[in-house]
Amino acid sequence: MSEPSTATVRHAGGSGLPWAWFGVAPFFLFAVLFLILPTAFLIVGAFQTADGQFTLQNLRDLTHPSIVAAYRISIEISAASAIGGAIIGALLAYAAVGGGLPGWIRPTLMTFSGVASNFAGVPLAFAFLATLGRTGLVTWALSTWFGFNLYATGFNLLSFLGLTLTYLYFQIPLMVLILTPALDGLKKEWREASQILGASTFQYWRWIGLPVLWPSLLGATLLLFANAFGAVATAYALTGSSLNIVTILLYAQIRGDVLHNQNLGYALALGMILITGVSNVAYIWLRGRAERWSR
């Protein structure tokens, strides 16, 4: 590819010599010790009985109704907040990139998205309790100014809808951050060319915009899904242990073996790795497809 410089000549075939690998040894040692082995230990444990025999019973036990329910609610909340976050985030990003708004809007949105996508966990739960909780500002404003009792409608912040609404607070900004570069990749010339050929806005999006953008859109949605699926702190601070999602179940299991079977806990973790793993592999594959257009 590039011309061999003096350094590569001097260390001819350097990348093949074992000593060159010493430079990355600390990194890989660290990754093995604190990332790969701990995970591998759990995966192995998922296939063992308490006294170390091989078994598939733990995986079978995952089909217990309460565990299945926990996975289901987790997947539903993650999917709802990922799809909602993706749609709203994409609209916001599009409005900032191609909406013809003043120039200061875009950097402001990007900075704010950087902050909000990192404003998760316990403080986020507090913020939503102070806003939409029973004595929160919005709840109070609705009943005082409009005579509308939010909680009489059956709304509860400590529920599916409440948690999804809270997750959107970091999901939407994350989508904005991921999608804005992809939107920049939509070339103006394509739009102009399609207009010259007489295409309507709908036709432009149907035949050009979305086909180019869909791997980015879908990939980002999957990333958002995994992001919500692994979240613990927000849900725990918001609902305590009243909402049966899989991260909170696992948290309780680590704390006090609520499943009364350590190895079933490992299987629970394995199930989570599989779900986030599949969605991330799909994301990486889709990103590869999306990059074809950005060259």
Partner: protein, 261 residues
């Protein structure tokens, strides 16, 4: 091209409303502690709480240790991959992305199984050992962001020429790394560092499950027992996050104008 900006404005206004109302709501709530008047009483109570001071300074210390380990681990690796082992780049990138794939709670679960008191390396036996394990855990959590940031910084400079120039002047590898490479990617390292700080300072899962007195578990504890203080703490946490992101912008902008060649 005639185009209405009504839709985009509407989207921005609705978006701004969704993001600002919880902040306003939290601020308003945090000032309601004294009956009938707005006051900063909740902030006074929180800031005067010795457990706040202890847990916050504990987390700040931990963040600094995490940043130090993370930088010393990531910069030489990214540098070496760029210079000598470009074929290894996809593998290293894949490893740095793993913490986004494996949920944090699963990683810490693995730690508890692998480094417990009956294991070959019983880190959780002592407090210092657990602190170290927690810092290592945070290094893994921050790895995707730190690596991205440093790698982007390294791509923007001519690593090969800088290395050769230093080598021909007789510099050893430590001199090259610390006196040539580090200063040249300072803003990238700082970006990664501030992002790491923002992640570590309020982190809950790792600290709670390793049972260390960090800021995240303290927040959770206050949230479960108090009414107005949590809102004040949320505002404080938001300001800290905002400060970190602001500092990234400042240093990022400095890089943009400074090294334009």
């Amino acid at each position: 091209m005639k185009k209405s900006t009504f839709g985009p404005w509407l989207a921005m206004i609705l978006g701004a409303a969704y993001f600002l109302i919880p902040l306003i709501g939290t601020l308003e709530f945090s000032m309601r502690m004294k009956r009938g008047v707005y006051s900063f009483e909740a902030y006074k109570v929180v800031l005067g709480d010795p457990r706040f001071q202890e847990s916050f300074s504990y987390s700040v210390m931990l963040a600094l240790v995490t940043i130090a380990i993370g930088v010393l681990l990531v910069v030489p690796t990214a540098y070496w991959v760029q210079l000598r082992l470009p074929k290894l780049r996809p593998v290293v990138e894949f490893v740095t992305l793993l913490p986004l794939v494996i949920p944090a709670i699963v990683i810490v679960f693995g730690y508890l199984r692998m480094y417990n008191s009956q294991s070959w390396l019983p880190l959780t036996d002592t407090r210092r050992g657990t602190d170290l394990l927690l810092a290592f855990g945070y290094v893994t959590l921050a790895l995707p962001y730190m690596y991205r940031s440093v790698d982007t910084g390294l791509r923007a400079i001519d690593v090969r020429t800088l290395t050769e120039a230093a080598e021909s002047l007789g510099a050893g590898w430590a001199t090259i790394l610390f006196r040539v490479i580090f200063p040249n990617i300072r803003s990238a390292i700082l970006s990664g560092a501030f992002l790491t700080f923002a992640i570590v300072i309020g982190e809950f899962t790792f600290a709670a499950l390793l049972d260390r007195p960090a800021f995240g578990p303290y927040l959770q504890l206050v949230g479960a027992n108090r009414a107005y203080e949590p809102a004040a703490l949320a505002i404080i946490a938001f300001v800290v996050t905002w400060a970190c992101m602001g500092l990234i912008q400042v240093f990022g902008a400095a890089r943009g104008t400074g090294s334009k060649s």
